[in-house]
């Protein structure tokens, strides 16, 4: 998959407001977005060189361990994090919970993540994101899901992976699936493309644009299970534009050092010598859960429609 996202694709030409939303995602490219649960962690992330932070009450590993319904974070916590750092602050809303999205926009959050990591609020619909001034990022496991989210107004996509596991296997699977489906679509005639659009549940015009660009028409980050500089660099080499790191940093032995190393790894993702250097002596990685030991009901990536 080509990693170059052409300037001024047709969806951006259609809508100046969308260009401003998708433009911020372009500014985040080649960067690392880190999950943080308080102002102190946000400062550590900023000092490490994060391009943005995701403000959360609990990192996915704890949501998994503690169970219960996971909701939008307390606005007070989000505000504290916004005051602590000058980089963009993102926050998560439950799938379909448009009022949580309204609240996050009112707080002035820079990006809203309609996220499967929280417990879904609607088991049929996603939020219609066009009307919001705040841009949205959404998760996907495959091309159809990515294009459905863009069709609803998402200005940025992340492959889901399996959050809170420290196991990169699902992130790789989702990235490879998106890439393979794009390659498949690129070889198709228009007649075949209409059928393929129906099969994968994607709007035809966005599928057509994807074929033209030979990549997703918006910025795409990897997420869900990235725990080491090597994980991050692998996702970059697979063609994503940047990386989300959730539990991988603050569930590790030396968060500041690991965070810096992952930032360096994303910049120099093609330089194994630099990767060897930054991977050295990072202390303990997060313990991690093997995805194949999880019950199907425990998989977060399956949430989203």
């Amino acid at each position: 998959m080509a990693t170059e996202l052409p300037v001024n694709g047709t969806i951006e030409e259609r809508n100046a407001q969308f260009n401003v939303k998708a433009g911020l995602a372009r500014m985040l490219k080649g960067g690392v977005i880190m999950d943080v649960v308080n102002a102190e962690q946000a400062r550590i992330a900023e000092e490490a060189g994060a391009v943005a932070v995701m403000a959360l009450e609990r990192v996915p590993a704890d949501i998994r361990a503690q169970g219960g319904v996971a909701r939008m974070s307390d606005p007070k916590l989000i505000k504290e994090i916004m005051e602590a750092v000058t980089i963009p602050v993102m926050a998560k809303a439950r799938i379909g919970h448009f009022v949580e999205c309204q609240i996050l926009q009112a707080l002035g959050v820079d990006y809203i993540d309609e996220s499967e990591v929280l417990t879904p609020a609607d088991n049929t619909h996603h939020v219609v994101k066009h009307g919001f001034k705040a841009p949205f990022v959404c998760g996907c496991r495959n091309l159809g899901e990515a294009l459905r989210r863009i069709s609803e107004g998402a200005a940025m996509i992340r492959t889901k992976g399996e959050a809170g596991t420290g196991d990169v296997v699902e992130a790789v699977k989702h990235m490879r699936t998106v890439n393979a489906e794009i390659r498949k679509a690129v070889g198709m005639s228009d007649e075949e493309l209409y059928v393929y659009a129906k099969d994968i549940g994607a709007p035809f015009d966005l599928l057509k644009e994807t074929v033209k660009l030979k990549r997703l028409p918006v910025v795409n980050f990897a997420a869900g299970g990235v725990a080491t500089p090597a994980d991050a660099a692998m996702m970059m080499q697979l063609g994503c534009d940047g990386v989300f790191v959730g539990s991988g940093i603050f569930k590790s032995g030396d968060p500041a050092k690991r965070a810096k190393a992952i930032v360096q790894a994303v910049t120099h993702f093609n330089d194994p010598k630099v990767l060897a250097e930054v991977s050295s002596d990072l202390g303990e990685a997060m313990v991690g859960l093997n995805v194949d030991k999880l019950a199907a009901s425990e998989l977060l990536a399956a949430r989203g429609w």
Binding site: N8, R26, M27, G30, G31, A48, P88, D110, K260, V266
Partner: protein, 224 residues
């Protein structure tokens, strides 16, 4: 014209490399527009474009673009890659043409407000003070038509895309201003993102100033 003559003409063209700093941010977008712009310019130079992540790559460049992105991130990575001093040399000692957009303009300023706690490293070169995130957060971001000085009379305005954008709030040592594009000697900065429009005019204009600089250096007997 014989084929040999064609080869001779093209071999007379001097090669010059324009770099785009690629530590983080929208560097690919600049490369796309620079390539498009170069195709519209005829000169005695064969321009090529390269991503710059190391000192060795910077050393090949005759001019440099510092893209939009997160200025704190770029400054921290540059520091850790030992690129800050070579960048300062490039801009302030070798006085090579350098253009910073948004975060790039912040890095090219001598002074910046509303930086992260503890401040941030800057490259400098523009005697101005910028105010980061001047217009506010992402929900206050916007695009607006701009009349820029390099545009000819009656030309359609340039779309300025402002994303969590800075402005020049003081031209040092004088004081108050509210400027979105500024040039001092070899250094150009702008608050907005020409790399987010399909409009190639600003890149073309800047490349023409780069070519002027190359010619001047050649006349003075310096290296291109």
């Amino acid at each position: 014209m014989s084929p040999t003559a064609i080869t001779e003409t093209s071999s007379e063209k001097k090669a010059a490399v324009v770099g785009v700093l690629a530590l983080q941010g929208a560097f690919q977008e600049h490369v796309q527009l620079l390539r498009k712009a170069a195709a519209q310019i005829t000169s005695t130079y064969e321009l090529s474009f390269t991503l710059v992540k190391t000192t060795a790559q910077l050393a090949q460049c005759s001019a440099l673009v510092i893209p939009g992105g997160e200025s704190t991130t770029m400054a921290l990575i540059a520091e850790r890659c030992a690129l800050l001093e070579p960048l300062r040399e490039f801009v302030k000692v070798a006085r090579r043409p350098t253009w910073g957009t948004c975060a790039g303009m912040i890095l090219l300023s001598e002074s910046a407000n509303r930086t992260k706690k503890g401040g941030q490293e800057l490259i400098g070169g523009l005697d101005v003070r910028v105010n980061r995130n001047h217009f506010g957060r992402q929900v206050e971001s916007f695009s607006v038509p701009l009349q820029l000085r390099f545009l000819g009379e009656g030309e359609k305005p340039f779309t300025g895309v402002f994303i969590r954008a800075p402005v020049v709030e003081a031209v040092l040592p004088r004081g108050d201003a509210r400027v979105v594009a500024v040039r001092q000697g070899n250094v150009l900065g702008c608050s907005f993102h020409p790399e987010l429009t399909g409009d190639v005019r600003m890149h073309k204009w800047w490349l023409e100033t780069v070519i002027e600089d190359l010619k001047r250096r050649e006349k003075l007997g310096g290296s291109v």
